[in-house]
């Protein structure tokens, strides 16, 4: 082992951020050399350097000096460009992807182009947990900068769905939890990505806790607005599990902490995460109550819409638990109506059946049970294989002039009109039904 490697190793082991900071120019210069020497990304030199980078970033955050120029990356921008370039070997791309959380993206003169190169390079590197960590960490950092976030290719956000195990202290969490990053992720309109984002962000470590109230409000708003709805109860369950874990860890940590400052932060974190938990539990409760209240009305309403035979509707309905993923109403022994269900599973083909039975709704619900099931079973694999989301499907219908662009008119039969909109069909359907029902009463 060369004296340089030995020296760096000692610095990494002691993790003395101040010493590392004072030697940042030499360390960054050495990275240029190490990147070429350990081009498989697994060499000892690079591992030591990454530990140094982490130690110094942690130190800078701890001492409130992260506004200072951390490393001298701007001087090696050509190297970064070369490593990220399309023609660069995968091994070198891997090195720079691993180093990417430490790069000052917005300080690069051509950062927009570099972000595009980074995104392209990430997709060519074989996935490992380390790579996933680095990409997610970097994604949060870039998104935190308002001038850079618009240059992130939309596809990069799907990396969140890989949910790499982030290290306990991952500063990407800190950068990623600002209100505007929450808004960017919400604007994607993908519930899976949004859930993964929150699962990755929520941590029991006080170092990466964002104290911004605006961020807390934005997350609460997201939980309230994006995670309400019967069909996405399983997402809420996942979030609740994570919150329970984080809150449990916070309890454990608070038992072993003696610092008053840290105790205060942990108290704030408990309040914040506890607030998120309450929101989710409230939504669950509201949805359950709404469904239970609505179901008899639904049955009556459907009965009023159809032929006389439907007045003798059996109340043998059931709700698929947990979290009301499917609601199936059995009208009688030979007739069955899928009102709503999980948009990603049976709901889609069941709604498909409803929508594409335009001629005679009454005749539809009297189709033999087995016929409907055959039809559904035929549809389900198709939709799952092609991964058609609910919104896509609504767009498909819109294009075929069956529906208006923003509102899907289910079927106009008699005095009632079923309408759904956006990606939360179940809740809106039930509300509309309620209104229709009220109108009828009036």
């Amino acid at each position: 082992m060369s004296p340089i490697t030995q020296k760096l190793k000692v610095m990494a082991e002691t993790a003395d951020g101040d010493s590392i900071y004072r030697k940042r120019k030499a360390i960054t210069a050495f990275f240029s050399y190490a990147a070429w020497r350990d081009r498989d990304g697994q060499g000892e030199l690079l591992n030591i350097l990454f530990r140094l980078f982490r130690a110094m970033v942690a130190w800078a955050h701890r001492t409130g000096t992260f506004g200072r120029p951390m490393f001298m990356w701007c001087h090696i921008e050509p190297l970064v460009t070369t490593l990220l370039n399309e023609e660069s070997p995968v091994s070198l791309k891997q090195v720079i992807i691993l180093a990417s959380p430490y790069l000052p993206w917005k300080q690069f003169t051509n950062h927009q182009h570099l972000i595009q190169l980074w995104a392209a390079a990430a997709s060519t590197v074989p996935y490992t947990n380390d790579i996933g960590q680095s990409v997610v960490d970097t994604l949060f950092r870039i998104a935190n900068d308002t001038s850079s976030q618009s240059h992130i290719p939309v596809g990069m956000w799907s990396w969140l769905n890989k949910r790499p195990p982030l290290p306990p202290i991952c500063w990407g969490r800190f950068y990623g939890s600002t209100p505007h990053v929450v808004r960017v992720v919400r604007a994607l309109g993908d519930i899976e990505i949004l859930k993964s984002y929150l699962l990755l962000l929520w941590s029991e470590r006080e170092e990466t806790w964002l104290t911004s109230l605006a961020a807390l409000y934005e997350m609460r708003a997201s939980l309230r607005e994006d995670f309400s709805g019967v069909g996405i109860g399983h997402h809420r369950q996942d979030l609740l599990r994570r919150l329970d874990y984080v809150l449990g860890q916070l309890d454990l940590r608070s038992e072993h902490l003696h610092s008053t400052v840290n105790m205060h932060v942990i108290r704030c974190m408990k309040e914040g995460y506890g607030g998120f938990r309450e929101v989710l539990l409230d939504i669950d409760e509201e949805e359950a109550v709404a469904i239970i209240r609505e179901l008899p009305r639904l049955i009556v309403l459907f009965g009023s819409l159809t032929t006389a035979g439907m007045h003798r509707v059996s109340l043998d309905f059931y709700v698929c638990t947990p979290s009301y993923m499917s609601i199936v109403v059995c009208l009688d022994r030979s007739s069955l109506l899928f009102l709503t269900s999980n948009p990603r599973r049976r709901s889609l083909p069941s709604l498909f059946v409803l929508i594409t039975a335009p001629l005679n709704f009454g005749s539809f619900i009297r189709i033999h049970y087995g016929t409907i099931m055959d039809h559904l079973l035929a549809c389900v694999p198709y939709y799952l294989d092609t991964n058609v989301s609910w919104i896509t499907y609504v767009r498909y219908l819109s294009n075929r002039s069956l529906v208006r662009p923003t509102t899907v008119v289910f079927r106009k039969l008699g005095t009632a009109r079923f309408m759904i909109a956006s990606a939360r069909p179940i809740r809106i359907v039930s509300r509309r039904l309620y209104r229709v029902h009220s109108d009828d009463k009036n």
Binding site: S2, P3, I4, Q6, K7, L8, K23, K25, A26, T28, A29, F30, S32, Y33, M72, H75, I76, P78, L79, T82
Partner: protein
């Protein structure tokens, strides 16, 4: 007294003995000859001189005043704008590197350093803006003589030396780093040069020089920069 083996223009080699004074004379002769003629043989002579200088550190045996004289006589000053005299850029660059090397080996409080500073700033303004090709060597000398607060910032983006000059320059910077490292810190601009140059895929001997600079800055035990050669460096390649 130093023995040199020089190649003559007709291809034969000749051994000459140089003392401190004759080295200076030889340097002046070479630089002035090149000023008057750009013939290939004279350029080769200068390269030969540089190569020898690099190997046996001729510069260390000549007084700084000689190189300063050459440097000042081949530069034009117009306000803050400083340029090498057209046609003499290489001579000025060589003189700068030699001066840099001599100055790096003496302490910043020594008489030689102080005398050089006084004479240098009698001609060159502190906030000088060096322009033109090969100005980086002069800029480096300037950076050694004046603190970063008193001079304009400069970068290495446009520094594209020939291989010979590159090797000489980086080797000189190792000496600057070594000597300054002994007295305190390696100058920032030296490390920035390493930062800028390593990604450019330089020759292996130059990489070794940069690694020496890094090692010195990190506080590794490095043998004397004068005795360090590529296969005996403190770094493993």
């Amino acid at each position: 007294m130093i023995s040199l083996q020089l190649e003559r223009m007709d291809g034969d080699s000749v051994a000459i003995q140089l003392n401190r004074k004759s080295i200076a004379t030889y340097f002046l002769s070479v630089t002035r000859l090149e000023t008057f003629s750009e013939s290939r043989s004279l350029r080769d002579t200068r390269h030969q001189f540089l190569a020898l200088w690099d190997r046996i550190h001729l510069a260390d045996h000549a007084p700084a005043a000689i190189y300063l004289d050459v440097l000042l006589s081949y530069t034009d000053v117009d306000g803050d704008r400083v340029t090498a005299r057209p046609g003499s850029e290489r001579v000025a660059a060589v003189a700068s590197i030699c001066l840099l090397r001599v100055l790096s080996s003496v302490g910043p409080t020594s008489n030689v350093f102080e005398d050089t500073r006084r004479r240098y700033f009698g001609v060159i303004p502190r906030m000088a803006n060096f322009e033109g090709p090969l100005c980086h060597a002069i800029t480096a000398t300037h950076a050694l003589l004046v603190s970063s607060q008193e001079r304009r910032p400069f970068g290495w983006i446009n520094y594209k030396p020939c291989a010979q000059e590159y090797a000489s320059f980086t080797n000189t910077l190792v000496q600057v780093a070594y000597n300054r490292g002994q007295h305190g810190k390696v100058p920032r601009w030296v490390l920035r040069f390493a930062l800028h140059s390593i990604p450019q895929d330089p020759p292996i001997s130059v990489v070794a020089d940069f690694l020496s600079i890094i090692a010195i800055d990190l506080g590794c035990v490095v043998p004397s920069a004068k005795s360090a050669v590529s296969d005996e460096r403190c770094v493993q390649l």
